[in-house]
């Protein structure tokens, strides 16, 4: 399976499962839960994109 499919995970996290995160409490790191949830997915997005970048054969050669 192509490593690029990993990119679907944050899309689901932000656009679909946000429905479970629309609340103020519990506060996490001082943030209302909704804001914490979105921040968490931004961080996960960066991590997943880094994994894809590292493993994607397209980035191994000078051009594909």
């Amino acid at each position: 399976m192509n490593i690029r499919w990993l990119a679907v995970i944050p899309v689901l996290g932000i656009l679909v499962f946000v429905g479970f995160a629309n609340r103020v409490t519990p506060f996490v790191f001082g943030l209302p839960f909704l804001f914490f949830y979105v921040v968490m997915w931004v961080v996960i997005t960066a991590a997943i994109m880094a994994v894809i970048y590292a493993l994607d054969p397209a980035n191994k050669k000078d051009s594909n």
């Binding site: 899309v11 103020v24 209302p32 909704l34 994109m49 894809i52 970048y53």
Partner: protein, 477 residues
């Protein structure tokens, strides 16, 4: 001394102008140099240019004002960037390759070349210019507010906006995109510092982060989630989808893609741009703290500046003002330049069969015309900064269905489909803009227009014959 604020703000403008003049020395300024920097920019410059789009007046004053006025819905601003970068990983390399093969300079060139239809190119240029105006208007509004606040009211709003516009137009006329890239470096350093200081100090001033949010939550339950003003979950989802799909459809972002040296630049950037996005969080903190520091502002765009003015000494207000000026100057100059080039190169040239020299002259005249038009709208409008940006997004996102289908399929879309999709989408957006309906059935109306656009593109392309394939038409990858 209050005057120190204004002195620092004006000094920033002068430094930006000097950087702009220095950047264009020793460079032959033909149109390709002027607009896409000769396609020689590496990771850092492309990053800064694209980041220049992110940290604009929209985020600095708009983001803080939106959290001040709307609360929870502001979280959409954090979310859409992340999704846009995911898309960029897959879309931009293809777009860059095609643009390089065909020596494209603008978004309109892409449509004209890919669909072998100069008429479609002109339509796209017209829509692009229309979308740029509200975006530019919000930068000018921000510039005006900053000058007004840092002068402690001595410089009036209209004069402040006029000075701001003249500076931007002058700056573009002098240096083109090289100026933008260098000022972008200065801007990112100053803005980063200011946002961190303000975003930490203001919440501390009201008792710390969690205390601040708890106080707001007690005062106004439901303010910190997605619920009020029709901005519930469906609004969040449709707005995030709309804005992340439209992120690179802005004419200036689209052509900023062409400035890259190679395609890996984009994939690399997609891994760390999402983190850069988190700086926005501090902008939000400042906006939320302002609820407690300067409650009841009529103009929410002022939230950050008013809170800073109340808590910090005058010289620091000047530093914040300077940072704010830069967040308007860099994207503002890029917007004006893109608009002027679109009109000269993609509307005037094909229609008037103009010569190279005439086109260059026209581009430089159009810089001032666009500046004047945006100034006119800025003076006569009270819209919030975020509302202006969303209006522009509604327009540019209408390019998305045709762009995505033409990049990834050979015959998924033809020129008839692209043209009718864009026309229908834009008409719906114009209708909703005129009737001031931004949310319908809880959904962002721009997103509804996008859905209908997609269907029209698909149906019309399936029902009409594919135009005769010219030698360079299909995008082979």
């Amino acid at each position: 001394m209050h005057s120190s604020a204004l002195v620092i703000t004006i000094a920033t403008i002068v430094i930006a102008l000097i950087l702009g003049v220095m950047a264009q020395r020793n460079k032959k300024m033909d149109l390709e140099q002027w607009t896409v920097g000769g396609r020689g920019f590496g990771v850092l410059f492309v990053f800064l240019l694209l980041a220049g789009e992110i940290y604009t007046t929209f985020t600095f004053l708009g983001g803080s004002g939106y959290s001040y006025g709307m609360g929870g819905p502001a979280s959409y601003i954090l979310a859409y960037g992340a999704l846009a970068y995911i898309l960029s990983y897959f879309i931009l390399p293809r777009l860059w390759r095609y643009s390089k093969e065909h020596k494209l300079l603008s978004q309109s060139d892409y449509f004209a070349t890919r669909f072998n239809s100069p008429g479609l190119g002109i339509l796209v240029a017209v829509v692009g210019v229309i979308a740029i105006i509200p975006y530019l208007q919000l930068q000018i509004t921000g510039l005006g507010l900053i000058m007004e606040v840092t002068s402690y009211g001595a410089v009036g709003k209209v004069l402040a906006m006029t000075i701001g516009v003249v500076v931007v137009a002058l700056y573009v006329t002098i240096s083109g995109i090289h100026g933008s890239a260098w000022t972008a470096v200065l801007k990112d350093i100053v803005v980063l510092a200011v946002v961190l200081v303000v975003g930490i100090a203001l919440p501390m001033h009201v008792g710390g982060l969690q205390v601040m949010f708890e106080k707001i939550n007690t005062m106004r339950p439901d303010f910190l989630i997605l619920k009020n003003h029709g901005m519930g979950l469906m609004w969040f989802i449709s707005t995030v989808a709309l804005t992340s799909l439209g992120f690179y459809m802005w004419p200036h972002s689209f052509s900023a893609v062409f400035t890259a040296k190679n395609e890996r630049v984009f994939r690399r950037n997609a891994t760390f741009l999402p983190l850069y996005q988190l700086i926005l969080l501090f902008v939000f903190f400042a906006g939320f703290a302002a609820i407690l520091i300067v409650p009841g502002l009529k103009n929410t765009n002022l939230a950050l500046l008013a809170a800073v003015q109340k808590v910090f000494p005058a010289w620091f207000v000047g530093v914040v003002g300077g940072a704010g000026i830069l967040t308007a100057l860099v994207p503002g100059s890029l917007l004006i330049m893109t608009g002027a080039t679109l009109i000269a190169e993609n509307i005037y040239r094909p229609l008037a069969k103009a010569s190279e020299k005439q086109v260059q002259t026209m581009a430089r005249i159009m810089v001032w015309v666009i500046a004047a038009v945006s100034l006119y709208f800025s003076i006569n409008s009270n819209a919030t900064i975020v509302a202006l940006l969303l209006m522009g997004y509604n327009f540019v996102t209408q390019f998305f269905p045709s762009v995505i289908l033409s990049l990834f399929t050979e015959h998924g879309v033809n020129k008839y489909g692209a043209m009718s999709g864009i026309l229908v989408g834009v008409s719906i957006v114009v209708y909703f803009t005129m009737t001031k309906v931004s949310i319908l059935w809880g959904i962002n109306t721009g997103f509804l227009a996008l859905l209908i656009n997609f269907i029209v593109v698909w149906v019309v392309s399936a029902l009409t014959p594919n135009s005769p394939v010219s030698a360079d038409q299909p995008a082979h990858f």
